[in-house]
Amino acid sequence: MELYVMSFVVGGLLCVCGQLLMDLTPLTPAHVLVLFVVVGAILSGFGVYQPLVDIAGAGATVPLLGFGHSLVVGTIEDVNSFGFIGIFSGALRATGTGIMAAVVFGFFMSVLFNPKGKGG
């Protein structure tokens, strides 16, 4: 139960950061997206993000910072297993499932539906 509460609190706070960046700075949603992935990777590299994942679970892995974290975790794992070549293989191996899922679901949605736009 504690994990659920922490997941809710941490995930929500991360989203608040994103919302504040969009409301208070000239950054666009695309800027915030890239910034979150990069910040997640940096925090993970310094070993700060894994403790957050341990406390908050999906509250820390589902936001975009979690994607940056996975890139770094995968790279470190592959470097430990395969050495130098792991720098190039690790990031996509660790996140490949998510990326392929996005491509596959995106493909089927685009086949099944037409974009409606926002103006009605």
Partner: protein
């Protein structure tokens, strides 16, 4: 006789008559404040076509044909069509005009296109180069959003200063003779750039250009703001409109009582359009509907219409350039 007045203005010696206008809008505009002043409201933003761009072309073609029909002419009697839109290489305009098979000159003035094409059309008619000219413009919310901002499917949040691009098109027919209000004078704007860079806040960027043209118009023609029953700007929105009133006050002219912005007249508060309407069609659908109607019914007799345009491109934005702006004015009198 030379028709030039002052630095940037012209006064027509045979003022062209606006013999008819037509407009067409999307569903959101049709539910807005001016709902009874539209000739046709589409049921959705695709209108059974394959793309938003095709829908925009349809709207422009429809508006030109309808304007011509309304004054009992045929399209063959139009000597020249002046038109433009917001998309790269005037995509919507070129595909719309393809089917009309009339002499055509493309005009790009971003959201000032309606006034720019009316101004040039009036010069063609007054200069004796044409008997009937059609001027038209269009914009489409989703097509413009895709080109200038984000893919619609991304669902990006819009800041409160952002304006909503109008889905619609408007067309006017200018003739040598006929019944209707006349374009008596015009002021050609120059590019004004105060260095603002945020494309989510174009009203404030365009306001100085509107003020520059407004001030020059009064200087050139010797008129005062009170000469006009109403002064309309194209699409400055709530923020830009207040800025124009302030900047004119600093120059010693009070326009607060007879000034309105077309961008503030289209949507209802609860439609969540944020700072108001924008796009080529903002001034076009308001002029070709509400304002023309008021002039024909003599509820307004003298109107000054300013088209305001942000002339940035998607490339210039990515290269962190500022937004060059322009405003053109036409005086329309019954």
């Amino acid at each position: 006789m030379n028709k030039k007045r002052g630095k940037q203005s012209v006064v027509f010696s045979n003022p062209p008559v606006i013999t008819s206008t037509a407009n067409i809008v999307g569903p959101m505009e049709g539910q807005g404040l001016l709902d009874q002043y539209f000739d046709y409201t589409m049921l959705d933003n695709l209108n059974n076509l394959d793309s938003w761009e095709q829908c925009e072309s349809f709207m422009m073609e429809w508006a030109i044909k309808e304007a011509v029909n309304k004054e009992n002419s045929t399209i063959d009697m139009i000597d020249c069509i002046l038109a433009g839109d917001l998309l790269n290489q005037l995509m919507s305009t070129h595909f719309a005009l393809k089917k009309l098979e009339r002499p055509f000159l493309g005009v790009y003035g971003a959201c000032s296109t309606m006034v720019e094409s009316m101004l040039l059309g009036a010069m063609l008619v007054d200069g004796g180069f044409a008997n009937k000219v059609a001027s038209a413009t269009s914009s489409h919310h989703d097509a413009a959003e895709r080109q200038y901002r984000f893919p619609n499917e991304l669902g990006a949040q819009r800041p409160p200063s952002a304006q909503w691009t109008v889905t619609g098109a408007g067309a006017t027919v200018l003739s040598v003779f006929g019944h209707g209000p006349r374009i008596t004078s015009a002021t050609i704007g120059k590019i004004v750039d105060y260095g603002l860079k945020d494309p989510n806040s174009m009203g404030p960027a365009m306001a100085p250009a509107a003020v520059d043209t407004l001030w020059t118009h009064f200087q050139d023609t010797g008129r005062v703001p009170a000469y006009y029953d109403m002064i309309f700007t194209g699409d400055l929105g709530n923020v830009g409109k207040q800025l124009v009133i302030q900047l004119m006050q600093q120059k010693g002219l009070d326009i607060s009582s007879n000034y309105q912005d077309c961008g503030c007249m289209i949507y209802r508060e609860e439609q969540d359009a944020h700072a108001g309407a924008s796009g080529c069609a903002s001034s076009a659908i308001v002029f070709c509907g509400y304002i023309y109607n008021m002039l024909m019914n003599c509820k307004l007799k003298k109107v000054l219409l300013l088209g305001t345009g942000s002339l940035h491109s998607t490339t210039s934005y990515q290269q962190k350039e500022s937004i060059p702006c322009i405003a053109h004015a036409v005086a329309v009198e019954m």
